[in-house]
Assembly symmetry: C2
């Protein structure tokens, strides 16, 4: 495909993309396929000779669309949002065309420097303490990671390295690593990626019970640390969550931060979803206490209109990451090395794409006001849905609705709610995913799509009611 | 930005992208900037209100281009190639627009199934043993990772988990993990990511000396394993390289594979760059022995025209990865779970983009023949460069030229070659990166760009000669 053919094909695809988004409500949000549906329809191997663009283009509707779950449909209410916006798509087109690899400064100076600048812009939107920003010219700064899971893992590994250095050099006998004594903490409500990070880091992890608001409190942590120190263990890392996946609960980071500072424990704050809301002054107070954290992560690729992947991680002392990750072969050396960050030392992969371009495009084309309006609209729509639920006595709301997530149940057993969720998803008009709160099977409704309007919420609410009507209710609430 | 504005902006950007590639030779390959060049030119924070597209578009030339290292210029000869092609850019546009997250089958069935299909297509192009393919309906299959570094790390972690299970359950006392006895192996020529993986996995690694052809041999490995077993250590993982970064050397995987099988050690083969060449029958023999490997990795995003990120990892028993990585919260459960792979258990991140689309577009629009022609052209051009070098007595070629990499030196000291490389890069007409072979500072010339023609190789060779002319030579070769 030469540039002439690309010009034509790309413009045809641009029109297709616009039509897809403009008419996304015409498609069922969930596909009707069964596992291994594609195997029967696909050739077993690649073609010997190149095919024309039209064949590939036509197969988008024929082969891809029947198997799509439409995350950007206003009827998609599962998991958390994944961001998509036109400015971000434009930026990714440019990034793909430039195709640079930003592992060191010299490998593409603008790739490193625009990322530093954009992480500062976003850090300032969030009113992060200046220690987290490059512009303070200290040890802190931000770096784009692939995912919140990766951010957690990277910080845990850096904390592990710091702890091993500290505890190896003091009292323990030579060659005896304190690794098997290290223990990390999180809430039982923390995302599964924290457990996964501990598994991969080969350290112990303790999941602590939150309070009745599902918030992890300082005294719970303090008690666990005391217990563990008495057992000879070494507490080294706490992952606190702001906006949990189950219910969008907030750990008490002011209390937790004080304890971590006193105990010299790395505090990592994961606000993957909720973090985007903190650009609005009225939600910023949830972030109070971040000044005590060693690292903070939120995902613009969830709720800030920046396409995946763009997980924003700020660290107060980036040297602690690079110390844990630094390998420095001759084939990557260059003559200005050491004057500025080489991002390869701040991540797992060596290679890295030019991802800050999409932050730059989105932040400039929306502006801070545009981004705030977008967040506020989602929160308002979630609140509308909550009010709709409150009008129907068959439903109960489970946890306070703070941002774009509503947790609720049909009054009745877990079994009833499981069947209800399955019936909803089987109709494929809207899509929800469940969670477990206090051991109970609970439904989650999230406002996800950038296209969502009040009419869409009404459509989804109608679907919930319609399915409930068809359902034998327990507790006397059947088919009213 | 609405769809009408996006249609216009995207078409303007498509034209810009075409013009950029068509005229890429007009730009110096390296930028003239110094570290922190951007700070002075950028506003310190995001704009309050959205800006028009034209402002952003105009800033591409004004702010981005002056800081770019042009990886797709035919005058870029550093590191290894990073792939870019028009079909892959199209696929990424579509992927960005669909914006699905493929962590489980239900989260987007086509995202999982197209990836299975494409990994099989590519596996068949490489003539991988059927155990590595999904179509054999065994335990094997392929999965797209972000980078070769990540592939190595994932396999090392899986091997670690397997070894810990094996050695914990047999003789060792309870609660005493064999982790601190585990030892991995690679060649001194292996990529730095292997050392990094060991660092992150908290296991020992031994770098073994290769033979005079820079190939790691079986007997060297066998001796190391024997030594380490006598010391009470547990050998558990070998990372073999096909096409090293320094010199494109090939470890002897037939010998290594036999030993790994005998000793029950996980063999991972990293062919990040060279792997793409194995789709040509005349280079496939380098892969002989892969049947003894547990995992095999190559990067279509390096040399197979698929834009980053697309690192292809095949594993004979995917259960060993998911066993090491599996965490399974309620909010990710769905009713067909277990019938088909959930890719979230096969990687570090939870989220994953729809990356197989770009394999599909590239494989279909180029066809196997088109891809082979592309690879062969690069190899032929590297050979042309080698012949140019051979005409000039000031230069010596260091290692055999097998694929697209030529290693050479100016006859003389390391110091001379360092100055020479710096002088080449300081002129910014072409870009090379050095390496260290047998402790000697060596120059690397790689054919990288999809646009490269013989005239470009002649241009670069002329640049090498011009700079050499200006240089005081040692050994009587000065300024001839």
């Amino acid at each position: 495909m030469d540039s002439k053919q690309f010009r034509e094909a790309a413009k045809q695809l641009v029109d297709y993309i616009c039509d897809y988004h403009d008419n996304i409500r015409d498609r069922d949000v969930l596909p009707a396929v069964q596992p291994y549906f594609l195997e029967k329809q696909m050739p077993g191997s690649a073609p010997e000779n190149g095919e024309p663009w039209t064949s590939v283009f036509n197969d988008i509707e024929k082969l891809i669309m029947p198997g799509m779950t439409h995350w950007h449909s206003p009827r998609f209410h599962a998991y958390f949002p994944t961001a998509s916006s036109y400015p971000a798509i434009l930026a990714d087109m440019l990034s793909g065309a430039l195709g640079c690899v930003g592992f060191s400064w010299i490998s593409s100076p603008i790739c490193t420097e625009l990322e530093m600048s954009m992480m500062d812009w976003l850090g300032k939107m969030l009113h992060l303490p200046s220690e987290f920003l490059f512009s303070s010219h200290g040890k802190g700064g931000g770096v784009i990671q692939e995912a919140a899971s990766e951010s957690t893992l990277i910080c845990m590994l850096a904390a592990r390295s710091r702890a091993i250095t500290k505890y190896s050099s003091s009292s323990s006998p030579k060659n005896k690593s304190p690794l098997n004594k290290l223990v990390a903490y999180c809430s039982t409500q923390a995302h599964s990626s924290v457990e996964k990070a501990a598994l991969l880091s080969a350290v112990k992890i303790r999941s602590l019970d939150p309070d009745t608001n599902l918030s992890l409190r300082g005294e719970t942590l303090e008690r666990a640390i005391k217990d563990d120190r008495e057992k000879g263990l070494i507490p080294f890392f706490v992952a606190a969550s702001l906006g949990t996946t189950n219910s969008c609960a907030f750990d008490n980071i002011i209390e937790i931060g004080q304890i971590c500072q006193k105990e010299d424990i790395w505090l990592h704050i994961d606000a993957a979803y909720a973090g985007s809301a903190f650009i609005c002054p009225e939600y910023r107070h949830y972030l109070n206490g971040v000044d005590k954290a060693d690292s903070f992560n939120m995902n613009p690729h969830k709720w800030l209109l920046v396409n995946s992947d763009c997980s924003a991680l700020w660290v107060k002392n980036l040297n602690l990451i690079s110390d844990a990750f630094n390998v420095d072969p001759v084939y990557l050396k260059y003559d200005k090395q050491g004057q500025i960050h080489d991002f390869r030392h701040l991540q797992i992969a060596l290679g890295r794409r030019f991802r800050s371009l999409k932050m730059w495009f989105v932040f400039r084309l929306y502006g801070l006001n545009g981004l705030q309006q977008f967040i506020r609209k989602h929160i308002r729509l979630a609140s509308e849905f909550k009010m709709m639920l409150q009008t129907d006595p068959r439903f109960q709301i489970e946890q306070p609705v703070v941002l774009g997530l509503v947790t609720f149940r049909l009054k009745g057993s877990d079994e009833l709610n499981k069947k209800y969720a399955k019936a909803i998803n089987d109709r494929r008009k809207i899509h929800i995913s469940p969670c477990s709160i206090n051991g109970r099977y609970t439904l989650r409704f999230v406002v996800c799509s950038r296209h969502t309007e009040l009419e869409d919420i009404k459509f989804s609410w109608n679907e919930f009611k319609t399915v409930a009507d068809q359902f034998p209710m327990e507790n006397g609430f059947a088919n009213h």
